[in-house]
């Protein structure tokens, strides 16, 4: 018997059996429906979470190093305590670094603090006031939506000008153009020269939308003259990242007076680290999540096995007839396996049909729509559940003695 005819015959038998016991088939398949629903919604949530995260850190720029005292991720508390003792990163070190690097396109010293910002009678609190130079535009990957970024002259001269983020603009200025208007940071007046495009994303440190950027000299003048700086270094050629990183490391070691053999007393952070850490966490969450939702599928599968055992017993006589006219064991096995697989596949499709509109409705919370990979996985998992749950009953059917089987009923 060719595989194809077997499959068709199996599908016909499966469909007949399902039709003959509509209520029972519905109840049996319910477990799979619920299992697939939860698995796909969870898969969508995880995929959405991942893409939101990737979007957010994309604004960091894959080609930018962040040179700081602290590393973004610590192996141990001891590491952190040691890092605290490090000398702060000072402005003259940044200047020396800029001179020394050949493989980078932009170097920007960055510091920030939270200050209230006011315009006329409106006040925005929780705004990050970032002090940096004109190269920040390049290193942060920000886009200017209106006006311009401040230039080198304004930066070196420490002019009281600022560039504001999209949320600050909409909060304080609403529909008026903020350009050339004066706003107060702390109590000091600054003239707005540019507005940044909306970035969105969930990232805190560079929550660009809610920040105001001023020249570093002004920042030091207004707030604190000896800040601990982060140095943004944008690499020119992304294919030479590792080379650039090494150049950066050896130059900065020299500048900071780190002796050969001693460990770095600073950290070079990259977006990669986020991704790595995040992927690790996501893997754990994902595994736990799938395990839990997988349990409901497991329960559904047991229900299928139970009903298939009943079905096989009910059809003992029919199995006897088929064997008498020449069905081999494999044919009987296939018949019942296909029946189980079809019931589960239908359950899976119904589960998908219910989960899909739910995922659309929850799109904003989940961070995205149901990816095709999740849909395919759901279909695959349904089929697999059917084949596994149906195996024992199908095996029983296949091994029945035809004489005994014919005698029953």
């Amino acid at each position: 018997m060719t595989y194809f005819t077997e499959l068709i015959e199996g599908l016909i038998i499966a469909w007949d059996a399902i039709k003959a016991n509509k209520l029972r088939s519905v109840l049996t398949t319910l477990g799979i429906v619920i299992g697939i629903m939860t698995v796909t919604l969870m898969g969508t949530a995880i995929a959405g979470f991942r893409s939101s995260f990737l979007n957010a850190i994309a604004s960091f720029g894959t080609d930018v190093f962040h040179v700081q005292r602290f590393s973004w991720f610590f192996g141990s508390e001891q590491e952190w305590l040691d890092a605290r003792k490090r000398e702060r990163i000072a402005l003259d070190q940044v200047r020396q670094l800029e001179q020394a690097l050949t493989l980078s396109e932009a170097v920007a010293p960055v510091t920030q603090t939270g200050k209230p910002v006011t315009y006329r009678d409106k006040k925005s609190s929780g705004v990050q006031v970032i002090g940096t130079n004109e190269q920040y535009l390049l290193t942060s990957g920000s886009l200017v939506a209106g006006g311009r970024f401040f230039n080198r002259a304004e930066s070196d001269g420490g002019r009281p000008v600022c560039v504001i983020g999209a949320n600050v603009s909409s909060n304080l200025f609403q529909s008026i153009s903020p350009l050339n208007e004066t706003l107060r940071i702390g109590e000091k007046p600054f003239s707005v020269v540019g507005v940044l495009g909306k970035q969105g994303g969930l990232f805190g440190e560079m929550g660009g939308d809610n920040s105001v950027i001023i020249p570093l000299e002004q920042w030091r003048y207004q707030f604190y003259s000896r800040p601990d700086l982060t140095i943004h270094v944008k690499v020119g050629d992304i294919d030479r990242m590792n080379e650039a990183k090494e150049e950066l490391r050896s130059a900065f070691r020299r500048i900071r007076g780190v002796r050969p053999g001693e460990a770095d007393d600073f950290a070079i952070n990259q977006q990669d680290q986020f991704l790595e850490s995040f992927n690790k966490v996501l893997a754990v969450i994902g595994t736990a999540g799938f395990f839990i939702t997988g349990l409901s599928l497991f329960v559904g599968g047991i229900g299928i096995m139970n009903i298939m055992l009943v079905s096989v017993t009910e059809r003992t006589h029919e199995i006897g007839i088929r064997k008498a006219i020449g069905a081999k064991r494999r044919a009987i096995l296939a018949q019942f396996l296909i029946e189980a697989a079809v019931i589960c596949l239908i359950g899976g499709l119904i589960g998908l049909a219910i989960a899909f509109p739910i995922s659309l409705a929850l799109k904003s919370k989940l961070g995205g729509t149901m990816p095709l990979s999740v849909v395919l996985m759901a279909i695959g998992v349904s089929l697999l559940t059917g084949l596994i749950s149906g195996f024992l009953p199908a095996w029983r059917a296949a091994r029945m003695d035809p004489v005994d089987a014919l005698r029953s009923e």
Partner: protein, 229 residues
């Protein structure tokens, strides 16, 4: 070469702590084209013998050669193939698949034999023609009378052109008129050259054959040609 060669066939099985000897050593030869009746009361072993001849079961001891093949030592799958190719069963209770049409019931042995759609439909059509039921092929068993159902079963038995037609009480569930129709059909099939073995406890049915083998207590009591009346 005889179609069926049975040599000292016996079958016993355990029922709890007791051993039941259903067949105690049966030997016989059946040639191609014969019309044989196996007769005996219940418990005589005739059903056991039928199951062995039909390759539904394997003997405990002894040899069985069917159409030149030694089937006594075959495994499940091989027996299934033999049943498909060489044996056409006709049962007392018809044993049709209730949710399938007559056509599907008749073509089922061909499906298991791996025959493709076109030739399969053709062969099934022919088998239904042979039993005069071509016009009922899309009907389900519950839409057919008892006699018609048995005829579908006979068509199914014929469809693979088997070596033997093995009938177990073929008229047992039919009224006398319909039963007569079926027996007439068997006469016809026999005339066309089919080898027919009927297992029955009814004398009138057995007398329609041309050779009567009586079984008693697991052994052959007599084996004689039937005198035409």
């Amino acid at each position: 070469m005889s179609l069926i060669k049975i040599d000292q066939l016996s079958r016993h099985y355990e029922m709890g702590s007791e051993t039941v000897y259903a067949l105690r050593g049966v030997s016989l030869l059946i040639e191609r084209g014969e019309y044989v009746a196996i007769m005996g009361p219940s418990g005589s072993g005739k059903s056991t013998l039928m199951n062995l001849i039909g390759c539904l079961d394997t003997p405990s001891t002894g040899n069985y050669e069917l159409n030149g093949l030694d089937v006594s030592e075959m495994n499940d799958n091989e027996l299934a193939e033999i049943r498909n190719r060489e044996i056409g069963f006709v049962f007392q209770t018809f044993n049709l698949l209730p949710r399938s049409t007559a056509m599907h019931n008749v073509e089922l042995p061909l499906i298991y034999a791996g025959v493709k759609l076109e030739p399969r439909r053709q062969q099934a059509d022919e088998a239904l023609k042979q039993v005069n039921l071509a016009d009922r092929k899309s009907h389900r068993p519950n839409e057919l009378s008892g006699g018609q159902r048995q005829r579908v079963a006979i068509a199914r038995a014929l469809v693979t052109r088997p070596s033997i037609i093995l009938a177990d009480e073929p008229t047992g569930n039919l009224d006398s008129k319909t039963g007569e129709e079926i027996l007439a059909l068997f006469d016809e099939l026999s005339k066309r050259g089919n080898t027919i073995i009927v297992v029955t406890h009814e004398e009138e049915v057995a007398l329609r054959s041309r050779r009567m083998i009586r079984i008693r207590d697991g052994l052959i009591a007599s084996d004689e040609p039937v005198q035409p009346s």
